[in-house]
């Protein structure tokens, strides 16, 4: 939808290459600029190690002349074949993985539905689909998120806080004034997420659902 889209393929993400990322665009000018920037600002005539293959003598000479020419100030952000190899393997199962994540999320939603007055889940508008990298929840009552995550952790269910940028200590010097982003602030205080990944077995999912239920029903 945008001019450029960016994906991450870090370990915790839907498709992983260990560490990695990908930009997508339909703009040929941006393609050239980004490829060059990732490659020290190199002349686009010689970006890939194979750009000197299968050329006639004149073209080859052109590449030789421009091999160490840098037209812009760039960075070293190339991906390796090791990452690509993992990524190709991962792409084969990505649809199955997302389907499984959606299945697990549905189970969690069902488990929480009776307690909607105390905990909300992320809504999915009709025109969008959700890949459920994680399963996010927001408690309606101030202070309950701490109690609930503590309960989950004590039963061996890992949780993570939501982490809005504006509350990061590293951004203390930014122009942000407390109250500028009330929704994000509320989510930071009352939100958390739990895992939703395809390695969860049906038994795991049932266990997490039970632990959630036991908190709200007070059957500890």
């Amino acid at each position: 939808m945008g001019d450029v889209g960016c994906f991450s393929t870090y370990v915790a993400h839907l498709v992983t290459t260990g560490v990695g990322g990908m930009s997508i665009t339909s703009d040929p000018v941006l393609v050239d600029v980004m490829r060059s920037l990732a490659n020290h600002g190199r002349d686009n005539r010689y970006i890939s190690i194979d750009d000197d293959k299968d050329l006639d003598e004149e073209q080859h000479w052109e590449v030789v002349q421009r091999r160490y020419r840098f037209n812009r100030i760039g960075f070293s952000y190339r991906q390796t074949e090791l990452e690509a190899a993992l990524g190709l393997g991962q792409l084969e199962t990505v649809s199955d993985g997302i389907r499984r994540r959606q299945e697990i999320a549905a189970s969690f939603r069902d488990a929480l539905a009776p307690f909607a007055d105390r905990v909300g889940v992320q809504t999915v508008p009709a025109d969008r689909s959700h890949a459920y990298m994680v399963f996010g929840c927001v408690c309606q009552v101030e202070g309950e998120a701490q109690r609930l995550t503590r309960h989950l952790e004590s039963y061996g269910v890992e949780t993570r806080p939501l982490f809005p940028l504006l509350s990061q200590p590293a951004y203390r010097k930014s122009a942000y004034v407390a109250g500028d982003a009330p929704v994000a602030d509320r989510l930071a205080r009352n939100g958390f997420y739990i895992g939703c990944h395809p390695y969860l077995t049906n038994e795991d999912v049932a266990y997490v659902a039970e632990v959630l239920r036991s908190y709200f029903e007070g059957e500890e």
Binding site: H40, V64, Y77, L86, P169
Partner: protein, 365 residues
């Protein structure tokens, strides 16, 4: 085609990579720690911080040294562009210093002349398998109260008076790019004996955090993580390093013998204090360009020396001093790196020597 350079990859890397897949840990974990420990043992550095590549390792070292807007850092005019780009990424201003005729590394006298009140540091680059003149540069830094960060991207295994390069400055970096003496595909490491610098470098590569798994960030950082795949390949490669170094010395010796009677060819001199690693064997000839083109027609890959920084299109009109650096330009016009892979066969090397002898009209054999 006889390639100019290539990595030596076999089942030993594959075996290590299988371990990674079996463990399911893909980013920094046990193998990364082991790789860092092996690099510490090899170099003698107290800390080794693995990063996604040598360029970001250099950037983090400059940031850790506190480079700020307008700070000048001396870099040799003859180097890969990442050296000076890393200075600029950190907010500093690279000052291009001419190289010496013998090593093609930073000339300490030229460096002394380039020092101004804004100079904060010196970044010598250990080029083509030798080392810069570390005694003179260390003294220069001491005299002017400036720091040294060594770009040893090409120089794993290279020693100055018996000590591994990259350990003389406050920090140093190594690179493990695909064409290097040993490789991890992409990869780099910061070397330092300074605990605080090491902590800052780790933070910079880990989103500003002192450990993984925290989501409150005290500092602004980046993601320059290493991966277990890189560490796996690196560990297998380190085990091969002594054999690679020995083979490269053999290749260099055979070229030297092959060109002995050709007066137009000189091999760069190795200073007495340097234990070299002949990553590339390079030769000095009257004109590098036509020889490169002659060899390319015979399917022999060579590599010209770096286009000097003062001539790079991206540095024009940026307010940098672009006056001609004569020795760096001289090296670019006369230097040529020959096929130097570990896997170069005797027949292939014979072919390269034969072709170059033909070119200069020397009798073969």
């Amino acid at each position: 085609v006889i390639p100019q350079i290539g990595p030596w990859i076999d089942d030993s890397e594959l075996a290590m990579l299988r371990e990674v897949c079996a463990s399911t840990y893909l980013t920094e974990h046990n193998l990364t720690s082991r790789f860092e420990a092996e690099i510490r043992a090899l170099t003698g550095a107290k800390h080794a911080i693995a990063m996604s590549n040598g360029t970001v390792a250099l950037y983090c070292a400059f940031r850790a040294m506190g480079v700020e807007q307008g700070d000048e850092v001396l870099v040799p005019d003859l180097t890969f562009i990442a050296t000076s780009n890393a200075v600029m990424m950190a907010g500093g201003r690279p000052v291009f210093v001419d190289v010496d005729h013998e090593t093609f590394c930073m000339d300490p006298d030229a460096a002394a002349r380039a020092i101004t009140p804004r100079t904060r540091g010196v970044c010598p680059v250990h080029l083509y398998g030798v080392s810069a003149q570390l005694d003179a540069l260390t003294e220069l830094c001491r005299d002017h109260d400036i720091w040294m960060v060594e770009d040893a991207a090409q120089a794993i295994g290279v020693r100055w008076k018996g000590r591994h390069v990259g350990t003389f400055g406050r920090a140093g970096i190594l690179s493990f790019y695909g064409n290097k003496t040993i490789t991890t595909g992409e990869g780099g490491v910061v070397l330092t004996d300074d605990d605080e610098l090491a902590r800052t470098c780790y933070r910079l590569k880990n989103h500003g955090r002192d450990a993984k798994g925290l989501f409150v960030h005290e500092h602004v950082g980046f993601n320059f993580s290493f991966t277990e795949m890189q560490a796996a390949v690196g560990i297998a490669q380190l085990a091969k390093l002594p054999r690679i170094i020995a083979r490269k010395a053999e290749i260099r010796r055979d070229y030297e013998t092959g060109f002995r009677s050709i007066r137009q060819i000189a091999l760069p001199v190795v200073p007495q204090d340097v234990s070299p690693v002949f990553w590339f064997t390079s030769i000095i000839v009257p004109e590098a360009a036509p020889l490169a083109s002659f060899l390319a027609e015979r399917d022999i890959q060579t590599r010209r020396f770096f286009l000097p920084l003062h001539l790079q299109p991206c540095y024009q009109a940026k307010g940098l001093d672009l006056a001609t650096r004569p020795s760096s330009l001289w090296a670019y016009e006369h230097g040529l790196s020959l096929p130097s892979s570990y896997q170069l066969t005797d027949d292939q090397q014979g072919e390269v020597i034969g072709a170059i002898r033909d070119y200069f009209g020397a009798a073969t054999g």
